[in-house]
């Protein structure tokens, strides 16, 4: 009400401030994005702002958004204040069920052959025991990919996440060369997306929709985290392999149990993959001791093309 006779600029600014909306309809600022369906103009909608005031917004500024609230590009680059996200992956529990892979693909509308989250079969030397190794982006604190990006399209946020702005990316693929963990994938052709997905507002926090000629990767689902939920790979895993949480709060959860991060790392000898590269990953691994499943079990029920990936190892 109080905004009804304000200038358009003010209206927009207030509107951007509306982060968490009670209503099912979520907002995506016209200043940020012009995609999505056009609503008819002139209708005023009442919404609750974060500081508890009731404001009225022109409905033409409201657009339906995938899953959660869109944040401005600035916010998406800045990160969630006060957080320091961390992941722990318990190799002892992984049986290559691949639910994390499919959940991630579903969440990000990826085709079957594109895996942001991969499960590798690792064998460090011919005598050592093979083990399943789920690999997300490590969101390194010293990220080689961010260093080499010429246009600030991939960036490190204050909450620890390394994200990509596909609207900024020029597709030089230097970050892919720089990442020692082969985390990043490239859109070699126009992504085959259903119309309703292709029309979604892009945000570095959702990484949807994929864009031709740009790089993308695991983003730790910051849109889910903003909504107070765990990333989809964490909740999809039937064995509770993934723990996700906040290093500042010293808490991680796999959806079933919530534990102290420092205690978990201490008790189970957590380590970071290829520590010697100096990339300082934000993903920790717990060694594959006292395993829940024999490693061969992971090959059962796999489609032929995926099974064949591991021919060299087993």
């Amino acid at each position: 009400m109080q905004n009804s006779d304000n200038t358009h600029g003010n209206e927009r600014r207030d509107f951007i401030k509306l982060t968490v909306l009670g209503a099912a309809a979520a907002a995506c600022g016209s200043a940020i994005c012009s995609c999505g369906k056009k609503e008819e103009e002139g209708k005023k909608v009442k919404l609750l702002s974060p500081d508890g005031k009731l404001v009225e917004v022109d409905s033409k500024h409201l657009k339906p958004v995938h899953k959660t609230v869109g944040v401005s590009n600035e916010e998406a680059r800045h990160g969630i204040p006060g957080r320091k996200f961390v992941m722990v992956i318990d190799l002892a529990k992984c049986g290559n069920a691949r639910k994390c892979v499919t959940a991630c693909q579903k969440m990000h509308h990826l085709p079957e052959e594109k895996e942001w989250l991969q499960v590798k079969l690792m064998m460090d030397n011919p005598e050592s025991a093979p083990y399943w190794f789920p690999k997300t982006c490590f969101h390194c604190d010293n990220p080689p990919c961010v260093k080499v990006c010429p246009v600030d399209a991939t960036f490190k946020r204050q909450d620890g996440l390394v994200l990509i702005d596909s609207d900024r990316c020029i597709g030089c693929k230097f970050c892919m060369a720089a990442c020692p963990y082969s985390t990043r994938v490239f859109n070699w052709s126009e992504p085959d997306l259903p119309e309703e997905v292709a029309g979604l507002c892009y945000s570095p926090e959702t990484s949807v929709p994929s864009k031709v000629g740009t790089v993308e990767k695991c983003d730790f689902c910051p849109d889910m985290v903003r909504a107070g939920q765990l990333p989809d790979c964490v909740t999809a895993c039937p064995n509770g392999v993934f723990y996700f949480g906040d290093e500042n709060e010293d808490v991680v959860s796999n959806g079933e149990e919530t534990v102290r991060f420092s205690q978990l790392i201490k008790d189970k000898s957590g380590y970071r993959f290829m520590e010697d590269l100096g990339t300082q990953p934000r993903v920790w691994y717990l060694p594959p001791t006292d395993r829940l499943f024999p490693v061969e079990r992971g090959l059962d029920d796999l489609p032929e093309n995926i099974k064949n990936r591991f021919n060299d190892v087993m």
Partner: protein
């Protein structure tokens, strides 16, 4: 007065080169245009369908294009540093070579960056490089370096051409169309050879020649750091800077020798491009090949002897004849051993064999660029574990080859067209001599 008459007489000798275009040359131009058109078709497909038409995939993210980029830009650097050094040190036999070197600099320097554009997923967003530049990125260094370099190189070549343009436009006996004469007149910027003009031109040329030398070393190193700065086996090497500098100059010297030999025959320049010139250029090639061989040896020896896991994996691909073994052998034999033998043996030290070995060396150096880019990318630190062959092993597609040949054709075309505009031997450069 005597000097200018004599310069004109020289010009008469070169005149046929810029006066008319022979049927053979026209045929050549047509063939080269065909290659460029084929490249255009490939480019259209790449834009319309996407980079999926190339052989590049998520592991081998760079392929032929980047190999070509290093190859061409390296040749360009060599032209610049060679003409710079020859000029600054007043090497007496430089005259018939500097123009070729200058033209190589520009032609290769313009084509090299095009291959980078071909490799970039979104070249509609190239302006982002200037809108959101990040100084930490070696690509930003490279963009700044190449832009600076191209401006310097074009200015330098232009300065060395001004006196010739003035000479051509004043030479009334030249049977050239009036538009061409007008063009020369405009390009000569009113140069009349007065004492002040001479002095200014000379000091400007000298200054740029001096600037070009360190600039080439810097940009060549910056190019290598695109690879050297990553944590990849075969790339993450502290000698990559000097290694690239010497490899670039070696390749470029080879290209200049081949072009010298070609124009010597084509425009009957035996009086100017004498056996002596080939011998001297041969010596430069020998020294560079030896230096390059030394760098190669220490690079591979340390990797092999230290035998860290990743280094060993890349090296095993280079040594394995079922993978890159034959190419690796070819690149080392023909880029290092052959030029040294041909130039070292007095019997072989003749324009023909030197030019032939230079040509093979240039090919071998192209292969070397491929061997720098592809085997390393096929050896990521984590196992690939992919059943899609194109994700495991890189095979260039016809589109990539077509654009590669289009690049070579453009290089040759720029040369042919340039040789119709300016004499391959800088005519006016001889005036000073005759005055003395």
């Amino acid at each position: 007065m005597k000097a200018s008459i004599s310069a004109n007489e020289r010009l008469k000798y070169f005149a046929p080169q810029i006066e008319k275009i022979s049927l053979g040359t026209k045929a050549w131009i047509a063939i080269l245009l065909l290659f460029i058109v084929a490249g255009g078709v490939a480019l259209y497909q790449q834009i319309a369908i996407g980079h999926v038409v190339t052989g590049m995939r998520d592991n081998v993210i760079w392929g032929l294009y980047i190999a070509n980029f290093i190859f061409f830009i390296g040749i360009s650097y060599a032209g610049a540093i060679l003409s710079g050094v020859l000029y600054v040190f007043k090497v007496p036999w430089r005259r018939p070579i500097v123009r070729i070197a200058g033209l190589v600099t520009i032609a290769a320097g313009l084509i090299g960056p095009i291959f980078i554009l071909l490799c970039i997923g979104r070249f509609d967003r190239m302006h982002h490089l200037f809108l959101y530049p990040r100084l930490q990125s070696p690509i930003t260094w490279d963009v700044m370096a190449i832009c600076t370099y191209l401006v310097g190189a074009i200015l330098y070549l232009y300065l060395t051409l001004i006196r010739d343009f003035s000479l051509y436009s004043d030479a009334e006996f030249l049977s050239i169309p009036s538009w061409k004469r007008k063009l020369y007149k405009t390009l000569s910027l009113g140069y009349k050879g007065t004492e002040v003009q001479k002095k200014q031109l000379k000091s400007a040329t000298k200054l740029l020649a001096i600037v070009m030398i360190p600039l080439v070393v810097i940009i060549s190193s910056v190019l290598s750091w695109i690879f050297g700065m990553t944590l990849r086996p075969g790339w993450h090497s502290s000698i990559f800077g000097p290694y690239f500098v010497i490899a670039s100059i070696l390749t470029g010297v080879g290209v200049i020798i081949v072009i010298m030999w070609t124009f010597r025959r084509l425009y009957n320049l035996k009086e100017y491009l004498t056996e002596k010139h080939f011998t001297y250029m041969g010596f430069i090639m020998l020294v560079l090949a030896a230096g390059y061989g030394y760098f190669s040896f220490s690079e591979y020896l340390t990797g092999w002897y230290g035998s860290e896991k990743w280094d060993s994996e890349v090296l095993s691909k280079l040594f394995d004849t079922s993978e890159y073994g034959w190419w690796f052998l070819f690149s080392n034999l023909f880029a290092i051993v052959l030029p040294i033998i041909v130039v070292a043996l007095p019997k072989l030290r003749k324009p023909g064999p030197i030019a032939f070995s230079a040509l093979l060396m240039v090919l071998a150096m192209w292969v070397k660029r491929y061997l720098i880019v592809v085997p390393t990318l096929e050896t990521p630190l984590l196992p690939v574990q992919d059943t899609r062959m194109e994700y495991v092993h890189y095979v260039a597609t016809w589109q990539e080859w077509a654009l590669t040949f289009a690049g070579i054709a453009t290089f040759l075309l720029i040369f042919i067209i340039s040789s119709k505009l300016v004499t391959i031997v800088p005519t006016s450069d001889y005036i000073d001599d005759e005055k003395a």
